[in-house]
């Protein structure tokens, strides 16, 4: 039989209703009279929070503004007391209040809505404060005394050190337009021959904005601090190349992806082209990566070459059909996929082109041998940029040209030899463009896909660039163009930004002996090249 003690020991959790007599009797006795009625007990639970140690965050005990503020909020504290459901002894609630005050101060102050801010700004107290405060501030602002000026010039020494280090290349301007250049790649840059402060940049299509025109050309102005373009031009097809029309200061020429050449005029109020070449087999049907105006004031032509090797020459007055056209084919069979073109200084007939197959070709426009003349092999990837030497001086270096390629190198060539003179291999990414300085004979710039803009001085060092800068964010730099003065350099990146850098005088201004030094440098380069080839030949034989 069940023991009596066990059944009675759990009695504090259950109680028997109604008949008190049943409570004293063992279970089995009650069961026989009527069922035990069990009910849930109302459990009283008492929770005592752990004792919180009071700590002070203030360093001093003196009353400050913040403390007076919390004391001035008795209403809020009372509210909180009421919210506390659990009953507490009086002392504990006091401590909790103090702790909560502390917590309130640590919590950042709540944000004010615009209306609250406006209310404050319109209040009498604010007006009074502002009247006094602004008076003092305006007096202080107008005081231009620099009490820290050091006449010994010692504080300037530190600054000069910084200036020296950074003086090689410093960012002057960054041009970009939220609507027209964002999300587009800068495909070409050209400085105006007439107004040295104007720079035209062409952009390809914006994939995120299919309803906007695919081709954009913006004319930027370096002279003023205005951040918006001087002129905004657009057209239906992505613009792959652009140039100011030499001898026609109002015109900007663009070569597009569809093969059309477009002409914008800043005299018209339209942003769309005033003239367009036809989309026909007589003109171009492939993207035009090269446009250039060559010749003299009285006898000039617009030259354009598309990627199918077709070269057309146009008159800017009449773009309805080309004056002349030529198919650039190598050895009568292979059409040259032209990606870049350059005319040597002063030459209107002979030129060089770079192609997708990695070769560079020389060609001429007129004569019995019009077309491709020689092939210069050396690059292992498509040629992205070409530049012919243009710094005129005591010695003529117009036979020199440089090429940039996807194979991470820039190569130096002379038209007198089909093998490269030298290969510059400092880059670790596709080199997208290269350009000789217009004033310094031994200086050229190149840009690559890792965001680097390098300046090489052949008279200083041919192994490493003499100056280098990496653009913030490392975007791929697609184009580089020296300004006509040779003191500034513009670069366009894959994010639609055009950056203009000032080049330090010690780098970009040529000294009188640069030309003769370059002669010696070239002799050395030639000797090294021949030695290298002899060694290679010997190794093959052995």
């Amino acid at each position: 039989s069940p023991s009596l003690s066990t059944s009675l020991s759990v009695s504090h959790l259950t109680y028997l209703s109604r008949s008190p007599v049943c409570m004293c009797l063992p279970d089995y006795v009650c069961v026989s009279r009527r069922g035990l009625r069990l009910g849930m007990a109302k459990v009283t639970q008492v929770d005592f929070p752990p004792k919180q140690s009071v700590s002070y965050s203030k360093e001093t005990q003196t009353p400050t503004c913040t403390q007076t503020h919390t004391q001035a909020k008795p209403a809020e504290e009372e509210e909180e007391e009421e919210e506390m459901a659990e009953p507490k002894p009086a002392e504990e609630s006091q401590e909790e209040k103090a702790d909560q005050e502390e917590k309130q101060e640590e919590v950042p102050p709540k944000e004010l809505t615009e209306e609250e801010k406006m209310q404050l700004l319109h209040s009498e107290e604010f007006m009074a404060f502002f009247d006094r405060g602004s008076r003092i501030v305006e007096r202080a602002l107008s005081e231009r005394v620099d009490v820290c000026f050091d006449y010994s010039g010692r504080d300037l020494e530190d600054k000069e050190g910084e200036m020296q280090a950074g003086a090689k290349m410093s960012l002057n301007r960054a041009f970009s337009d939220e609507r027209w250049s964002k999300n587009r790649v800068v495909t070409c840059l050209d400085w105006s021959p007439q107004y040295p402060e104007l720079l035209v940049a062409s952009y390809n299509n914006n994939e995120d904005a299919p309803h906007e025109p695919d081709g954009v050309a913006l004319v930027w102005n370096m002279k003023y601090k205005k951040t918006t373009p001087e002129y905004t031009f657009h057209c239906q097809s992505a613009v792959m190349s652009a140039a100011f029309a030499r001898f026609h200061p109002n015109l900007v020429v663009g070569g597009t992806y569809s093969g059309q050449i477009v002409l914008w005029d800043n005299r018209s109020n339209k942003r769309t082209p005033v003239q367009r070449t036809p989309l026909s087999a007589s003109a171009h049907t492939h993207p035009v990566y090269c446009v250039n105006v060559v010749g003299t004031q009285n006898a000039h032509n617009l030259i354009s070459i598309s990627t199918d090797g077709k070269m057309c020459s146009w008159s800017l007055d009449m773009l309805s059909q080309p004056q002349d056209s030529l198919e650039l084919v190598f050895k009568q069979s292979k059409a040259v996929a032209v990606t870049s073109m350059a005319f040597p200084l002063g030459d209107v007939n002979n030129f060089v082109v770079g192609s997708e197959d990695g070769s560079v070709y020389t060609a001429c426009r007129h004569g019995s041998k019009a077309g491709i003349s020689d092939v210069f092999e050396g690059h292992h990837g498509p040629v992205t940029g070409l530049s012919c030497h243009s710094a005129g001086g005591p010695v003529d270096f117009s036979h020199l040209f440089i090429s940039a390629s996807f194979d991470w190198t820039v190569k130096l060539w002379t038209t007198k030899s089909t093998r490269p003179l030298y290969s510059f291999e400092d880059s670790c990414d596709y080199v997208y463009d290269v350009m000789w300085s217009p004033t310094h004979p031994a200086l050229f710039a190149c840009v690559d896909g890792s965001g680097r803009l390098d300046l090489w001085n052949l008279n200083n060092d041919t192994e490493v660039p003499s100056a280098s800068v990496c653009v913030d964010g490392s975007p791929a730099l697609n184009r580089v163009r020296w300004a006509h003065s040779g003191r500034e350099i513009a670069t366009g990146d894959s994010d639609g930004q055009v950056l203009v850098y000032d080049v330090g005088e010690q780098i970009c201004v040529p000294k009188a002996d640069e030309w003769t030094r370059l002669v010696h440098t070239l002799v050395e380069i030639n000797e090294n090249r021949d030695e290298g080839e002899e060694l290679a030949a010997q190794r093959l034989v052995a």
């Binding site: 003196t62 404060f129 502002f130 405060g133 003092i136 602002l141 620099d146």
Partner: protein
Amino acid sequence: RFSAVFIFSPKQAEVEETLKRIQTHKGVIGTIVVNAEGIPIRTTLDNSTTVQYAGLLHQLTMKARSTVRDLDPQNDLTFLRIRSKKHEIMVAPDKEYLLIVIQNPSE
């Protein structure tokens, strides 16, 4: 949404004019008005910079004021000027507000 309409009193216009004058003064980089809790109520700088300046300068001003009053309880802070290598920060304090102006003195 109900938006309040305020009558632009001549005094308010004066405040606006003075603020504009200060903001366009030579070399002024930014102007911030902060209330007693350190919350900016008017600013010419971007949000994150404003919050940073307002918070730090509010704390510094409180400390400066308590220093002045600890040294002499009958004294009080009237103006705070921080001259650094690059800028000058001026703070005109009050019981309720702070007017902060940042200037580049070399311009």
